[in-house]
């Protein structure tokens, strides 16, 4: 049995104009020791998916479907049970390390917080463990950093502290929402390397949510490409790097800057992410897709198997393959 099994997960936000479906019928599985990348533009529903996994949907949001952690249905759990799970079995790190720490508490106290909550550790034991955790995320002078306040640390140091806090109870699943977006490029690589190392050491499962294909390609084993709240393509990273089946994924690759690419302008995908209040009934990418035909707007495209473990939700895969080959 896989550690995490997500099936048919849909999410709707309550708005004045009625429910707004921000995620539609997505599904995936994740084993221990594996890294899943979720990639998509702003508004593709990737952060909502991450929040649903940890049971922290915004007020008024409703999730349906199934999220099973070790066979246990999370969507059915009451808040108190979720509180016990969070920070213990599931942990999360965020995009903005500058604001994700309480400015009034020393780092060590915050890193030790999950231990006090879930392991009933007393102050000094938790404090010692916090120093060990800070050391484990390769922070030099861990004891000194433990006593420091957030404003005394750099962005990279804070993100490492956040990771230490997430690791405190040795979670089964770590969800990283844009973990490196707010950091310098050189720091990005270090943090990603650290995350990969920690996965190898601890055998936990990691989900990295990012808009940056480079980040996903460097770290993940499998990729989920999201668009307009749906999964448009899923594949092992190596397979996706060889062949992008879905026109949206192809567009996403073409839009990414490359070293040595000369002065050629980046290829933007025309149009914008669809308005969630007025989603098309058919393929959500149709009105931006260069290959769209009338049938694309008729019904949501089913997931087609491109290769083993590699699927794309598109009815124009042959045309997309021809275009990619040319």
């Amino acid at each position: 049995m896989a550690l995490l099994e997500v099936a048919d997960l849909s999410m709707a936000l309550a708005t004045a104009r009625g429910p707004l479906e921000v995620v539609r019928r997505i599904g995936f599985t994740l084993d221990r020791g594996r890294i899943l990348g979720i990639v998509g533009e702003s508004g593709s529903g990737k952060t909502m998916t991450a929040l649903a996994l940890i049971g922290l949907l915004p007020d008024g949001a409703r999730a349906t479907g199934s999220i099973r952690l070790d066979g246990r249905e999370l969507l059915a759990l009451p808040e108190a049970a979720l509180c016990r799970l969070r920070g213990d079995r599931i942990a999360m790190i965020f995009q903005e390390p500058m604001t994700a720490l309480n400015p009034l508490q020393p780092i060590g106290r915050q890193v030790a917080e999950p231990l006090r909550l879930h392991r009933d550790m007393d102050g000094s034991a938790a404090q010692a463990e916090a120093v060990r955790l800070l050391d484990r995320v390769r922070l030099p002078e861990a004891a000194r950093i433990s006593a420091a306040f957030p404003h005394q640390l750099s962005g990279g140091q804070r993100q490492r502290a956040m990771i230490a806090m997430a690791l405190a109870c040795q979670p089964d699943l770590l969800v990283a929402d844009e973990p490196t977006t707010a950091l310098d490029v050189t720091l990005q690589a270090q943090i990603l390397d650290l995350l990969v190392e920690l996965v190898e050491e601890s055998g936990m499962a990691l989900i990295i949510v990012s808009h940056d294909l480079g980040v996903i390609a460097e770290t993940a084993d499998d990729v989920l490409v999201m668009y307009g709240g749906t999964v448009v393509e899923h594949a092992p990273v190596a397979a996706l790097l060889r062949h992008r089946a879905h026109p949206y994924t192809q567009g996403l690759f073409a839009a990414r800057p490359r070293l040595g690419g000369g002065a050629a302008p980046l290829q933007a995908i025309p149009g914008t992410v669809p308005d969630l209040a007025a989603l098309p009934s058919g393929c959500r990418f149709a009105d931006r897709c260069p290959l769209a035909i009338a049938a694309c707007n008729a019904a949501p495209p089913p997931m087609h198997e491109v290769a083993f473990g590699h699927g794309a939700a598109c009815i124009r895969l042959d045309a997309a393959r021809a275009g990619a080959g040319a």
């Binding site: 720490l101 002078e141 000194r144 306040f149 806090m165």
Partner: protein, 284 residues
């Protein structure tokens, strides 16, 4: 590792802020006088000596005597004690109930928030002194009831302030991080929200302290607050009114005491806000 020391600039800001220093000095003076009056006053504040009524300031009576021959300096000193008591109790009531309601509203949201805040709006709709007069008229005049009344109209001010500030904190990432760590709403409120809005509350409490002193003086002036023979600034002022043309100084002394105490607390509150409010610091 780069270690920025945040304490020294804060200290420097305090000593550079003229309003803050003046406010702190005036407040300290009033507090000191109130404390001294607990153990010592130049004369008894209630002893009547009609033979020496309306006396001019002298060595025995520093600020002279009133129409009953009572020592004005002693009365003002004991009055300071009275004003301090009013401020402390009324602000405590306001902070205790108001902040709890505000934090609960921000933490729970939904109908709890709506109900609490509409209740606060309702209380706010009546002018504060008017509702204090109403409460003392209903419960009967007296020091205790006037303090209670002032405390009650302090509640919505603190409820609104703390709810607004707490909502600002609740959307911050470190609250999400705390929830991810598995903390419940109550624990997050106590450990993360309250400390982060504390500086704002301290500033507001200082200002409301001044307002409470002013309100008590007003109620006592109207005869609804502290009752004779206990001295209070408001009542001393009221009694002096009769002799305004014979001995205007009798009205000036308590008036000056009220002005200085309230001014001091307001300057202190404004100064504290300038020094501690992180939003104002960052703008510099």
């Amino acid at each position: 590792m780069s270690v920025v020391v945040g304490e020294a600039p804060a200290r420097r800001r305090i000593f550079r802020h003229a309003g803050l220093i003046v406010g702190a000095a005036l407040t300290a003076l009033v507090v000191l006088v109130a404390i001294v009056s607990l153990v010592w006053t130049p004369q008894s504040a209630t002893a009547i000596d009609v033979a020496h009524k309306l006396a001019l300031p002298s060595a025995a009576h520093w600020l002279g005597t009133d129409h009953f021959g009572r020592d004005v300096a002693s009365m003002l000193m004991v009055g300071a004690q009275n004003s301090m008591m009013v401020g402390i109790v009324a602000v405590s009531i306001g902070v205790g109930i108001g902040v709890a309601c505000g934090l609960a509203a921000a933490a729970r949201g939904g109908w709890v928030e709506e109900a609490l805040m509409r209740l606060a709006d309702f209380t706010f709709a009546f002018p504060a002194v008017l509702s204090a007069i109403l409460i003392t008229a209903l419960l009967g005049p007296g020091a205790f009831n006037s303090i209670l009344a002032i405390g009650i109209f302090n509640v919505p001010a603190f409820a609104r302030l703390s709810r607004g500030a707490a909502r600002g904190i609740w959307v911050r990432d470190f609250i999400l991080a705390a929830r991810v760590a598995g903390k419940g709403r109550l624990r997050i409120t106590v450990e993360h929200v309250l400390p982060n809005i504390a500086s704002l509350l301290i500033v507001q409490a200082t200002i409301q302290f001044g307002v409470a002193i002013l309100a008590e003086a007003g109620l006592s002036y109207l005869g609804l607050g502290t009752q004779p023979p206990n001295p209070s600034w408001g009542r001393t002022l009221n009694e002096a009114q009769t002799f305004l043309f014979i001995a205007p100084r009798l009205a000036i002394y308590p008036g000056l005491a009220i002005v200085l105490a309230v001014l001091g607390l307001n300057l202190l509150g404004d100064g504290l806000r300038d020094v501690f409010d992180p939003r104002l610091i960052r703008r510099r």
